[in-house]
């Protein structure tokens, strides 16, 4: 370990390297999905988080096993960071029987309840009340858990955010509101969508707000660790991560509403490049990073192959899962 590392640094290079690998996994997975979508191997809509990987890796990396989170339509990164089985993830998005949700949800509904993932969500802002209720359950059950609500800057205009900030503050819920502020509310700049700012909104409810460079992995990880532990012991917190959306609102969106210079400049603020540079500066070898990329690519190739080979979902099995089997239907 180089002597230049700051004292008491909670994110030594080996820890950052693990989070960097998570970012690489998200980037490579979504780049693969982009190609698969272009080749018509993925039906429906997908929304990619390329450029936002540091938020997923940093925040999810700060969670404990008992913690829960609800995410958004742009939620691949959070679910991957939490460790969902990669083959089940690919199978789901490609509409296969063995998908994590049996091919019934797809990209916008990836969930893994065994990992505390309460689902991506197709409705903007809808994960906020789910996470609020999850935090309420943690508090009532004294589970020691924290619930995280991921939301985009577009959801700042949704009433659900305002209701949930109020509820979380009233009940001092163990909850973190994580805003991934990429500046774009679907096809419109957020400056034209939201008259307030998230720090002022938090202040109105007495909820501490912290803003961080969402493309700086170490900064996100540090802030998330502090904010999650504060929420666990002291009630709700807001973490606003300023980040960048490289792709369109949905895959295939030509983004004609965006300035070409803005898009061309995005790679300069690439969270992966920045963390790779930081790791190299901290003494990690080039060959270690190259090995990491190769290892991620190999994992993805295996998962993709398994997904392509998997069967299509069974309609009757899907029909049977609308309701939970119960003996109550035979009673009274």
């Amino acid at each position: 370990m180089p002597s230049s590392a700051p004292r008491n640094d909670p994110f030594p290079p080996d820890r950052l390297l693990a989070l960097h690998r998570t970012m690489q996994l998200i980037r490579a997975t979504e780049t693969t999905l982009s190609k698969l979508f272009a080749d018509s191997e993925i039906p429906g809509f997908i929304h990619l988080s390329v450029g936002q990987e540091a938020v997923a890796a940093g925040v999810i990396g700060a969670l404990a096993p008992q913690d829960t989170f609800a995410t958004t339509h742009r939620g691949h990164g959070h679910v991957l960071a939490r460790g969902v089985a990669l083959d089940l993830f690919f199978k789901e998005i490609m509409g296969r029987a063995g998908g994590i949700c049996g091919g019934r949800g797809g990209s916008m509904h990836v969930a893994d309840l065994t990992l505390g993932v309460l689902g991506a969500n197709g409705i903007v802002g809808a994960g906020l009340p789910l996470a609020t209720g999850s935090a309420l359950a943690h508090q009532t059950r004294r589970s020691g858990g924290v619930a995280v609500a991921f939301f985009g800057d577009g959801a700042m205009a949704e009433g659900a955010l305002h209701e949930c900030l109020n509820m979380a503050a009233l009940w001092r819920l163990p909850m973190v509101f994580v805003c991934e502020n990429n500046g774009w509310s679907e096809f419109s700049p957020t400056s034209r969508q939201f008259a307030a700012t998230l720090d002022k909104l938090g202040a109105a409810f007495g909820i501490p707000h912290r803003q961080v460079d969402g493309n700086d992995l170490a900064a996100v990880a540090q802030a998330a660790t502090e904010v999650v532990e504060a929420a666990r012991s002291d009630g709700p917190r807001i973490l606003e991560c300023i980040t960048t959306r490289w792709h369109g609102h949905f895959e295939g969106d030509p983004q004609r509403y965006r300035n070409a210079d803005e898009i061309a400049g995005l790679p300069e603020n690439d969270p992966l490049r920045r963390s790779a540079e930081a790791l190299l500066a901290a003494g990690i070898e080039e060959q270690d990073l190259a090995a990491l990329v190769a290892s991620v690519d190999s994992d993805i190739a295996v998962a993709l192959e398994a997904a392509r080979a998997d069967a299509l979902p069974d309609f009757d099995a899907a029909f049977r899962d609308v309701y939970t089997p119960t003996t109550l239907t035979a009673g009274a």
């Binding site: 998908g99 949700c101 409705i123 309420l136 035979a330 009274a332």
Partner: protein, 324 residues
């Protein structure tokens, strides 16, 4: 065990007994704790079960129901109250897109064991935004259960069943029934989807639920004076509704009227009538008739509301039409 009490107290007792039986049951909603509920359906529960499990919420219907979904996915069995059924319009995303679909769209990984209690119905001159019967909205959504108890005994046993049910239940209470007195049997069997033959008869069937049961009873009394024996099927459950019981009754009487307080057009009666027509056509001696509210918002003025609500006169007339 049997003792007389009011419908609203049966609700409170079912909630209290369910909380005593299962520590994961919790209640939240507007004024359900300190105030004991706007209709007193949760009176005393804060004292008995404490402020963690019985909580007053802000006036935030969308997040009340959304939070119930999140709590249910995190190990609780929440029972939430929406003060008037009209206000569920504010919470429809949480009910329709979240609660109803989580099990299915997550591939059966989970269930969403929650109950949304809410009062519907007119008779209180509460006007167009505090009186609607909107149960058909929910019966149309795969993944939801919908129940509407008409008696004190059912208010208790069906609420206990709803809380024990693994999937989300919309539990509809008619405001006009809260003061109704009846006997309670806490040990009655509890289940989902079974109707009850309220009154046996052989000439015509009246299928109904909720407060309209009492209009049906009055109609049956009057028909009996003319020698017509009407059988009353109290559906209790709207989703799933008891096809077996309804079909058995219609196969016996060959004539059927479906009566409910909700707007007739596109309502619960429309679905049941269509199923009878398609599955039981050969058993019918007369067209299936419906009695429901007219296609207009429920009006405020006492005289207007009285003219709006389906009553025994209209049920008698409909049954007589099936016998004509």
């Amino acid at each position: 065990m049997s003792k007389p009490l009011r419908y609203v107290n049966a609700i409170a007792q079912a909630l209290s007994d369910a909380m005593a039986a299962d520590p994961s049951v919790m209640l939240f909603g507007e004024d359900v704790a300190a105030a004991g509920g706007p209709f007193k359906a949760t009176r005393g529960l804060l004292d008995t079960h404490g402020p963690e499990r019985v909580r007053d919420t802000p006036i935030s219907e969308a997040s009340i129901v959304g939070a119930a979904v999140g709590a249910a996915l995190t190990g609780m069995r929440p029972v939430v109250e929406i003060m008037f059924m009209d206000f569920v319009a504010l919470a429809m995303d949480a009910v329709v897109n979240q609660a109803a679909k989580a099990r299915f769209m997550f591939g059966g990984q989970c269930s969403v064991p929650m109950v949304l209690r809410t009062p519907h119905g007119g008779g209180l001159n509460a006007g167009p935004q505090h009186s609607q019967c909107l149960e058909a909205w929910f019966a149309h959504i795969p993944g939801l259960r919908v129940v509407c108890p008409a008696t004190v005994a059912d208010a208790y046993s069906l609420l206990r069943a709803s809380i024990e049910a693994p999937d989300p239940v919309v539990f509809v209470e008619n405001k006009a029934l809260y003061a109704l007195q009846g006997d309670l049997d806490v040990d009655a069997p509890r289940g989902i989807g079974k109707a009850r033959i309220d009154r046996p008869g052989r000439h015509a069937t009246i299928v109904t639920y909720g407060a309209t049961l009492y209009a049906a009873r009055a109609a049956a009394d009057r028909l009996a004076q003319d020698g017509v024996e009407a059988e009353i099927v109290d559906l209790r459950w709207i989703q799933p509704w008891d096809e077996e019981a309804v079909f058995a009754s219609v196969a016996k009487t060959h004539r059927v009227v479906i009566a409910h307080e909700a707007v007739q057009a596109f309502g619960v009666g429309a679905e049941i009538a269509a199923r009878i027509a398609s599955d039981l056509f050969d058993e019918l001696d007369a067209p299936v008739l419906r009695v429901g509210a007219p296609f207009m918002p429920i009006p405020f003025a006492k005289s207007l509301e009285a003219a709006y609500l389906p009553d025994a006169d209209r049920i008698v007339a409909a049954v007589k039409d099936t016998l004509a």
